[in-house]
C-alpha cells in the first residue's frame, strides 16, 4: 500500500527520509536531497533553509537529530543500561521522540505543522521492546557524516501541549523523576535540587539532583556515566584548588585537554564554567548544566575569571 498523502501535509515527503527505498514515490533528488538537508545550520530548524515550504527545514532538523542520536548512541557502551530504545529500535522511531522535528510555529502555540511521520523501517527486530541496554546496531546512513552542533535551548523545538498531559502532571514529572537504579534510599523528601543537564549533540536532556552529590568529583563521574563521552578534565581531580577558584592556567588546561566542558547557568543567567566556586556555592547558584563543546566554551573562561575576581 503506497504511503498516503498525509506525508505531504507537513511537507515531509517520504522520499526525503533516508532509509526509505524511495521506490514507491516519484523522487526528486532522492539522496541528494538528504545530504543537502543535513547541512549543519545553527538556530531554529527551518529558520534559514531553502525550500522551507516543503518542510525541508523540519526534515533537516529531523535528520540532524537522527544523526546526532546515532553518533551519540555509538559512544554509549551500554554500561549504564539506561540508553535503551523502546519501540522497535529503529532510530526513526526515536525521531519523533527527539522532539526536534516540529516547526517553530508550533512553539508559538499550536501553529501548523507539528510532527513528522515516523517510518519505523528497522523492522528486522521481531520483539518490539528492547531491554537491558541493548542498543540496536547503527545502520549506515549519510547523516552520520557530520556531527551536528545544536545550541542547547534552540534545538528543543517541542510541540506545545503534546503529549496531552495536564500541566500540573507535567510539572510533577519534572520534579519527581522516575526511580533509577542508583537511587539512594537515604534521600528524604525534603529538598531535592533537580537541574537539567543538556549536552551538545544529545537529543534529550537529563536531570540530576545536585543534593545527591557532595563534590564536583561526584557530579562529574555521575554525569560521565550519564553521558559517557565527556570529561570534566582536570577540574574534578583538583576539586577546588584555592579560595580564588581556578586560576587561568588551570582553565586553559581544562579547555585544551578535553573535547567537552561542563558549564552551568547561574542565578544571574550567566554561563559559567563549572568548578570555579566552592561546591556549596555552586549548588546554590546553579540553575542548569550544559555540557558544551570546548571550542564553544573558550569565550567563557575570561568571564568566569572576571566574575571570580569580582566576587572576591
Amino acid at each position: 500500500m503506497s504511503v498516503p498523502l498525509e506525508h505531504d501535509y507537513i511537507g515531509l515527503s517520504s522520499e526525503a527520509v533516508p532509509s526509505m527505498e524511495g521506490s514507491e514515490r516519484s523522487s526528486s533528488g532522492g539522496l541528494n536531497l538528504n545530504l543537502k538537508a543535513t547541512e549543519l545550520r545553527l538556530g531554529l530548524p527551518g529558520s534559514e533553509s531553502p525550500g522551507r515550504d516543503n518542510g525541508v527545514g523540519v526534515l533537516k532538523s529531523l535528520l540532524v537529530v537522527s544523526g546526532a542520536k546515532r553518533g551519540f548512541s555509538d559512544a554509549i557502551d551500554g554500561g549504564s543500561g539506561k540508553w535503551v530504545f523502546s519501540g522497535n529500535g529503529g532510530s526513526e522511531a526515536e525521531l519523533g521522540k527527539g522532539g526536534n522535528l516540529f516547526s517553530p510555529r508550533s512553539v508559538n502555540g499550536g501553529g501548523k505543522g507539528g510532527g513528522c511521520e515516523c517510518n519505523n523501517q528497522n523492522t528486522g527486530l521481531g520483539s518490539p521492546v528492547l531491554k537491558d541496554g541493548v542498543v540496536p546496531p547503527p545502520s549506515p546512513k549519510p547523516l552520520q557524516e557530520k556531527k551536528p552542533q545544536l545550541s542547547a535551548p534552540a534545538a528543543k523545538a517541542q510541540v506545545v501541549g503534546w503529549p496531552p498531559i495536564r500541566s500540573f502532571r507535567k510539572n510533577s514529572m519534572a520534579t519527581h523523576s522516575p526511580k533509577n537504579d542508583d537511587d539512594a534510599e537515604g534521600k528524604s523528601g525534603s529538598g531535592c535540587l533537580y537541574v537539567k543537564v543538556s549536552m551538545d549533540g544529545a537529543p534529550y536532556l537529563r536531570k540530576v539532583d545536585l543534593k545527591t552529590y557532595g563534590s564536583y568529583m561526584e557530579l562529574s563521574s555521575a554525569l560521565e556515566k550519564m553521558f559517557s563521552c565527556f570529561t570534566i578534565g582536570q577540574c574534578s581531580s583538583h576539586g577546588v584548588p584555592s579560595r580564588d577558584g581556578l586560576n587561568e592556567s588551570r582553565l586553559m588546561d581544562l579547555l585544551s585537554g578535553s573535547e567537552y566542558v561542563l558549564t552551568y547557568e547561574d542565578k544571574d543567567g550567566d554561563w559559567m564554567l563549572v568548578g570555579d566556586v566552592p561546591w556549596e556555592m555552586f549548588t546554590e547558584s546553579c540553575k542548569r548544566l550544559r555540557i558544551m563543546k570546548s571550542s564553544e566554551a573558550i569565550g567563557l573562561a575570561p568571564r568566569a575569571m572576571e566574575k571570580c575576581k569580582n566576587r572576591n
Binding site: 498523502l5 498525509e6 522497535n88 521522540k97 499550536g110 510532527g115 519505523n120
Partner: protein, 597 residues
C-alpha cells in the same frame, strides 16, 4: 448545554396551588392531571440531566414544574448561557457545576486571561441563589475576591470543588475555611494556584465539625499538622482525606488512627525510612481502615513501604498510582492484594509486565489510565508501555470500558484484538506519543485500529485518536460511531474529507476538538448546522482561514465564532478557532486577542 433552552425563555409565574372553581383559565386549558405540587414532588426525584431535559419539553406545565423542582444545574460551557438567563429559569438551584475554558487549555493552547471568569456568575448567584450549597468549577478563572464573596454570600454553603482553575491563591481558600460554617467538602485539584502558605487549614474554627471531604493533595505549602489532626479528630463524618506530599508517614499514621472510617485516602510522600515498629504500626492502622475504597497520592514511594498497604487493599476499588513511578514487580506485588479493583491509574514505568499483572489480578477492572512517567521529549527514554501491555489487560479484564493509554508504539492488529476482547468500551483514548507514527510492524496508518474500535464498540461515547491516520479513519468514525459524543483529534487526516465525514455522521457528537490537522474551510463549512447541536468545536493549527470563519459566523448567528489571535499571525489564517452555541450572544468579556466574528 445540558438543558434544552427554547429560543425565547418562558417566564411563567408560579401557578396557584389550589385552583378554586372560579379560578383562571388554567382549569379550562388542557393541563396536567396532577396539581402542580404533586408534579413537582415527582419531578424532584429526577436527577438525570437528560431526563429533566426531556421532561421540560413535554408541555408548559411540565416545563414549569421541572424548572421549580430543579436543584442542580450543570453548565458545560459557561458562555453558552448567562447567569441572568439561568437564574430566571431555575429559581431554586442549590448546586451549580460550571465548566469554562476549552479542554485544550489544559495543554497550554489557550493564552492566559482568555476568560471563563466566575465573577459575573457569583454576583448574580449572591442575589438569586441565597441558598446555594455547592459550587463545582472546572477550568474557570477564580480570584481571591471571588472566593471571599462566595464565603460571605451563602450561609448554607457546603461544597466547593475547584479543578483545573486559575487566578486564586491560598488566601482565597482561607476565606472559605474561615467563613463557611457548614462546609462539608473542600476539593482543590490541579489548579494554577498561588500557593502562598498552608495557613488556610488553620482557619477552620475550633468548633467546626462538618467536613466530609478534604482534598489538598495538589497544594505544596505545609499545613499546620496539629491543626489538621484536630480537624480530623473533630470531623467524625470525614470520608475523603487527601493530603499533600509534605505529610510524612508518621503523620499519616496519626491521621489514620483518628479516622479509620475513611473511604478515600490520599497519602503524602512515602520516602521516609521506617523502623520495624513504625512499619507494623502503620500496617495495623491500614488494617483498621475497613472502608477504604480509594487510595491515591504516593508521591515518591519505596518498595519497602508498599506492603504496609496490603491489608487496606482488600476492599479497594480505585487505586491512583499516577504519581508513583512503580516498577512492574512492585505493581504486581501490590495488585495481588487488590482483587476488587475497578479503576487503576498508573505510570508507564510499570511497563508491559506491570500491565500483565493487571490482567492477571484484576478481573473486575473497568477503567485503566496509563500516563507517561517522564516527558518523552525531555528525559531519558524509558521503556514505557507498548501494545503488549494493553493486550494483556484486555485478555484479563473483560469489563474494561474506559481506557486512557499513553504509549510509544501500537499496531492495528493489537487494537483490533483488544476491542474484540473488550467490546464494551465507552471511552477509548489512545495516545501514541509520536505524532503521526504508523503501525510499527506494518508501517501502515492506524486507520484500521480505530476502524475496529468504532465498528466493534457500539457504546463508544468518547474517542481520542493518534498515530498516522488518513481520512479513512474519519470515514469509519462518521459511519460507525453512532453514540460518539466527544472526539479528540491531533496530527491526523489527509484532507478536508476527514472532518467532513465526521460532521456528516456521528449524530450524537457534542464536542469536537482538533489540532494540527489538514482540515480547512471546506471542512469547517461542510455541515455548519451541526454545530448548533454540539456544545463546541475547537480547531487549532489547521488550515482554516479568517474568511472561512467569517462565513460560518454569517451563516450561523446563534453560534459564537471566536478566533484567538496570536502575535505574529498574519491575519489570514485562523490559528485557533473556538465555535460554540450560545443563547447569551457574543461574549462581553472577551480579551483583545479573542475576535468574535
Amino acid at each position: 448545554m445540558d438543558f434544552s433552552l427554547p429560543t425565547e425563555p418562558m417566564n411563567h409565574k408560579r401557578k396557584n396551588p389550589d385552583p378554586s372553581p372560579d379560578s383562571d383559565e388554567s382549569t379550562t386549558q388542557l393541563s396536567s392531571p396532577f396539581p402542580d405540587e404533586v408534579l413537582e414532588r415527582v419531578l424532584s426525584l429526577l436527577n438525570s440531566r437528560k431526563d429533566r431535559n426531556s421532561v421540560s419539553l413535554v408541555c408548559k406545565d411540565w416545563y414549569d414544574a421541572e424548572r421549580w423542582s430543579r436543584t442542580h444545574v450543570f453548565i458545560g460551557n459557561c458562555y453558552s448561557v448567562s447567569p441572568e438567563i439561568l437564574t430566571r429559569r431555575f429559581p431554586n438551584i442549590r448546586s451549580v457545576t460550571l465548566k469554562g475554558k476549552p479542554r485544550f487549555s489544559d495543554f497550554d493552547l489557550v493564552p492566559p486571561k482568555w476568560g471563563a471568569y466566575v465573577h459575573s456568575w457569583l454576583l448574580v448567584f449572591a442575589t438569586k441563589y441565597h441558598f446555594l450549597e455547592e459550587l463545582r468549577l472546572k477550568r474557570m478563572t477564580v480570584s481571591d475576591e471571588n472566593l471571599k464573596l462566595l464565603a460571605l454570600s451563602f450561609p448554607n454553603f457546603k461544597a466547593l470543588s475547584l479543578l483545573s482553575c486559575d487566578g486564586f491563591s491560598t488566601d482565597g481558600l482561607a476565606s472559605i475555611t474561615t467563613h463557611c460554617k457548614n462546609l462539608t467538602e473542600l476539593d482543590i485539584q490541579e489548579n494554577d494556584i498561588d500557593d502562598k502558605s498552608g495557613k488556610w487549614l488553620s482557619c477552620f474554627p475550633e468548633n467546626f465539625m462538618s467536613l466530609e471531604v478534604l482534598n489538598f493533595a495538589n497544594l505544596n505549602s505545609d499545613v499546620n499538622f496539629e491543626a489538621l489532626e484536630r480537624l480530623v479528630s473533630r470531623c467524625k463524618s470525614l470520608k475523603v482525606l487527601k493530603v499533600n506530599e509534605n505529610m510524612t508517614l508518621e503523620q499519616l499514621h496519626r491521621l489514620l488512627v483518628l479516622a479509620p472510617h475513611l473511604r478515600e485516602l490520599g497519602t503524602g510522600s512515602l520516602l521516609q525510612e521506617l523502623t520495624p515498629r513504625q512499619h507494623s504500626e502503620l500496617k495495623s492502622a491500614f488494617n483498621n481502615c475497613k472502608n477504604l475504597n480509594m487510595l491515591s497520592g504516593f508521591y515518591e514511594v519505596t518498595s519497602i513501604f508498599l506492603p504496609v498497604l496490603y491489608p487496606a487493599c482488600t476492599s479497594l476499588t480505585f487505586l491512583n498510582l499516577s504519581y508513583a513511578a512503580l516498577r512492574s514487580d512492585e505493581l504486581s506485588n501490590l495488585l495481588v492484594h487488590c482483587p476488587l479493583l475497578q479503576r487503576l491509574w498508573v505510570l508507564d514505568s510499570v511497563e508491559d509486565e506491570g500491565l500483565e499483572a493487571v490482567g492477571s489480578n484484576c478481573p473486575l477492572l473497568e477503567e485503566l489510565r496509563v500516563f507517561p512517567a517522564s516527558d518523552p521529549f525531555e528525559d531519558e527514554i524509558l521503556h514505557g508501555v507498548t501494545e503488549a501491555g494493553f493486550l494483556a489487560v484486555s485478555y484479563g479484564c473483560k469489563k474494561l470500558h474506559y481506557v486512557l493509554y499513553f504509549c510509544r508504539q501500537m499496531t492495528n492488529a493489537a487494537v483490533a484484538t483488544i476491542v474484540q476482547n473488550c467490546p464494551d468500551f465507552t471511552h477509548f483514548r489512545l495516545c501514541i506519543m509520536n505524532p503521526r507514527q504508523p503501525d510499527y510492524q506494518t508501517n501502515e496508518p492506524m486507520d484500521e485500529a480505530f476502524g475496529a474500535v468504532v465498528k466493534t464498540c457500539t457504546k463508544l461515547r468518547r474517542l481520542a485518536v493518534s498515530g498516522l491516520l488518513t481520512d479513512l479513519t474519519f470515514e469509519y468514525i462518521g459511519k460507525y460511531a453512532n453514540n460518539l459524543e466527544t472526539l479528540s483529534v491531533a496530527f491526523a487526516g489527509s484532507s478536508d474529507r476527514g472532518m467532513e465525514c465526521v460532521l456528516k455522521g456521528c449524530p450524537k457528537l457534542r464536542k469536537l476538538e482538533i489540532r494540527d490537522c489538514p482540515f480547512g474551510n471546506a471542512a469547517l463549512l461542510s455541515s455548519f448546522r451541526k454545530y448548533e447541536s454540539m456544545r463546541s468545536l475547537w480547531m487549532s493549527g489547521c488550515k482554516v482561514t479568517m474568511d472561512g470563519c467569517r462565513l460560518l459566523a454569517q451563516e450561523m448567528p446563534r453560534l459564537n465564532v471566536e478566533v484567538i489571535r496570536e502575535c505574529g499571525n498574519d491575519g489570514f489564517q485562523a490559528d485557533k478557532l473556538y465555535v460554540y452555541r450560545s443563547v447569551a450572544g457574543p461574549r462581553k468579556d472577551a480579551p483583545s486577542f479573542v475576535l468574535t466574528l
